[in-house]
Amino acid sequence: MKKNYGQIYTLPLTLWLTVFFTIPILIIVAISFFKKGLYGGVEFKLSLDAYKALFNPLFLKTLTSTLFISVITTIFTIIFAIPSAYYIARSKKKDFWIFLIIIPFWTNFLIRIYAWIAILGNNGLVNNILIKLGVIENYVQFLYNQWSVITVLTYVSLPFAILPLYSTIEKFDFSLLEAARDLGASKAQSIYKVLLPNIKSGITTAILFTFIPTFGNYAVPQIIGGKDSVMVGTIIARELTVMRNWPLASSISVALTIMTTIGVLLFSNFNKSKTEELRELKRGIK
C-alpha cells in the first residue's frame, strides 16, 4: 500500500494557513454582511449596507487614485529593476550586490519610510542640498502628495522586483545577445527582441510582487501621502480604527481581494494566451 506522504508533510502548513489565513478571511467576509455596531463591532443582523457604501463616489475616486498610484509605481519599479537585475546578473560581485539589496530588510519597514521624511522633508536632505547649490531659494514641498507616495512605494517594492528578475536573468544565456547583434540587431533591438521575451516569467513575477502589495498598501500613504493620495488601504484602516465601521472596512477588503484576484488571473492568462497567439500566428505564416 502506497501512503500519500505529501498530505502528512504539508499538514503543519495546512493547519497554519487554515487557522491564520483562511478562517480570518472567512470572518472578514462574514462581518462585511452584518450591520455596523454602535460602538464598533457588529450587530448580528444581515445587511448589505456595507456593500452599498462602496458605490459612494468618494470611495470610487479613492479606488481610481489607488489604481493610478499602483500602476505608476509598478511601471517605475520594473523600469528600475530590470537594468539593476541585469547588472547584478552580469557582475562578478553578485553576492555583494544581492547583499546590498537585502540589507534594508534588517531595518523596520516603518523606520525606512520615516527615513524618507528626513530625505524629502521641508528641512530634509534634498531641499538643503538644492538650497546650498542655489538651485532653489525656498524649500519645495516634496512630501504629502501622490508623487512622494509613488517614490516611496517604488523604493519599497524594488527588492521584490529585483530578486525574481535577477534569478531569471541569471539563467539567461547572454550569448543570445551576441547572436542577435551578429544577425543585425542594434543593442536596443537585442534587448527588446531577445532579452525581454526570454525573461518574461521574471517580469511577470516582478509585476505581481510589486502591484499586489502596492495596491493594498496603507502605511506609506498614511505617513508620506496627502489629500490627493488617499489609498484604499488607508480607508480600510480608518474605517476600522477611527470610524469603527467594521462591516465597511470588511466589504472594502473583500472588494480589494476580489479585484486583485481577478486582476492576477487576467494578467497571467493574458500572458499565456499571448504566447499561444504568437505561436498560432507563426504557424499561420507557413
Partner: protein, 368 residues
C-alpha cells in the same frame, strides 16, 4: 554569392594585460575555406570574435574587401557567426530563428517565407519549421544556426567550433554537409576548431595557432607533411620525434647520430652543417614493420630492431608500440590493413620485429 577577402593586419589583443593574441597576420582569399586550428586557449576564438566585432583589438586592423572594419559594430559587418553552443533564440520557432535578421530589415512576409524555406532546404530542415529549438536534436540545432547565419548572405561566415558538441559520427556527417554548402554558395568560411581531423579534412588552408601566435599557415598537406615546428608536428596527427647530431652531409642525404640507437639517414630538405643539433620527425604510418630486412629497394632506408610492447587493433589499422633493443626508445608504427587476411601472419605481442622507413619520409624540424 561572392566571398569576401579578409586581411588580418598585425592584430593583437590583451585581456587584463595578458596578451591572448600576438601580431596575427593573415590574408584569407575570397571563397576560401580557412581554418584556425589550435589547442584551447591559443587565441583562435579571440581572433574570430575580433572579426565578428565582439572584441576590439588592442592593436592592428581587420580589412574586409579592402575596408577596415574594426570600428564597425557587429550588426554593421557583412559577417555572420555560427556559435559553438548554437545560440538559438529559445522563444522563437525554427522558422522565426532563421527569419530573425530578415524581420529586423522589415522584409515582406512573402519574401521572408520564400527565403527561409530556401535556406531551411539548404540545411535539410524543411520538416521542422514549426518546432521550437528545445524540440530539436543537437545536429538539427546546429543546422538551424547555420541557416540563420547564411540567410543574411554574409561575405564571410565565421564558425566557432560548430561541431564540438556533437557526437563523432554526426560530426563527420555535418562536416561533409558543411563542405557541400561551402561549395554551393561559395562564400568565405572561417572555421575555428581544436580538432585537427576536422581542419585537415575540409580546409583549403589552415592556420595553426598556439599560445596567442600563428605558427604556420598552409594547405592541409603542407601542415601535415611539412610542419614548421615540433609543436605542429605533434599537434597535427601522431608522430615520432628523434633528437640527434649531424654527423655527415652528402648531396641529398644527411646522416644523423643519436644517443639512443646509433646513426640514421634523412633526406636533406633544410641546410645543415656537421655538428648541428637537429630534431627529426617521422609519421607512424610511414614506418613499416616486418620480420625480414627489405630487399626490394635501392633507396636509402633506416632499419631498426625492436620488440612489440603494445598492440592496438582498431579495424582499419593496428598501432604497434615498438621498443628498440638498444636504450628502450619506443616508436609508434601504424600498419594499415589494406588486404583482409592477405597480409603476412599477424604480428603478436612481445614479438621481435624489424621496423624501417625511407630516408625521404622523415624530415628535419628544428636545427640548432
Amino acid at each position: 554569392m561572392i566571398g569576401g577577402e579578409l586581411i588580418i593586419d598585425n592584430v593583437s589583443k590583451d585581456f587584463d594585460s595578458v596578451r591572448v593574441l600576438r601580431n596575427a597576420n593573415l590574408k584569407i582569399k575570397p571563397g576560401e575555406f580557412f581554418s584556425l586550428l589550435g589547442p584551447s586557449g591559443c587565441g583562435k576564438t579571440t581572433l574570430l570574435r575580433i572579426i565578428a566585432g565582439f572584441e576590439y583589438p588592442t592593436e592592428g586592423a581587420v580589412y574586409l574587401d579592402g575596408k577596415n572594419i574594426i570600428n564597425k559594430s557587429p550588426n554593421n559587418r557583412h559577417v555572420n557567426t555560427v556559435f559553438q553552443n548554437y545560440a538559438l533564440f529559445p522563444h522563437l520557432s525554427v522558422f522565426e530563428n532563421v527569419a530573425f535578421s530578415m524581420r529586423l530589415k522589415k522584409e515582406s512576409n512573402e519574401k521572408i517565407r520564400k527565403k527561409v524555406t530556401e535556406y531551411l532546404a539548404l540545411v535539410k530542415l524543411e520538416e521542422h519549421v514549426k518546432k521550437m529549438p528545445s524540440q530539436l536534436s543537437g545536429g538539427q540545432k546546429q543546422r538551424v544556426a547555420i541557416a540563420r547565419a547564411l540567410i543574411n548572405e554574409p561575405s564571410v561566415l565565421l564558425l566557432d567550433e560548430p561541431l564540438s558538441a556533437l557526437d563523432a559520427k554526426l560530426r563527420q556527417q555535418l562536416l561533409i554537409e558543411l563542405d557541400a554548402i561551402h561549395d554551393e554558395i561559395g562564400i568565405t568560411f572561417i572555421y575555428v576548431t581544436h580538432d585537427q581531423q576536422e581542419a585537415l579534412s575540409v580546409s583549403d588552408r589552415i592556420a595553426v595557432m598556439d599560445r596567442a601566435e600563428i605558427l604556420q599557415v598552409g594547405t592541409p598537406f603542407e601542415i601535415y607533411e611539412n610542419p614548421a615546428n615540433l609543436f605542429i608536428a605533434n599537434f597535427i596527427g601522431e608522430t615520432n620525434n628523434i633528437k640527434g647530431t649531424v654527423k655527415n652531409v652528402d648531396d641529398d642525404i644527411i646522416t644523423i647520430e643519436t644517443d639512443s640507437f646509433g646513426d640514421f639517414k634523412i633526406f636533406k630538405d633544410k641546410e645543415v652543417s656537421i655538428g648541428d643539433t637537429v630534431k627529426v620527425t617521422i609519421r607512424p604510418e610511414k614506418i613499416r614493420i616486418s620480420r625480414e630486412r627489405p630487399t626490394d629497394t635501392d633507396l636509402p632506408i633506416n632499419v631498426l630492431t625492436g620488440r612489440i610492447d603494445e598492440l592496438i587493433y582498431s579495424g582499419f589499422q593496428t598501432k604497434y608500440y615498438v621498443t628498440l633493443d638498444v636504450n628502450g626508445v619506443t616508436f609508434k608504427v601504424f600498419k594499415q590493413h589494406i588486404k583482409y587476411f592477405m597480409d603476412d601472419t599477424p604480428f603478436s605481442w612481445k614479438e621481435n620485429v624489424l621496423i624501417w622507413w625511407y630516408a625521404k619520409d622523415s624530415f628535419l624540424i628544428e636545427v640548432k
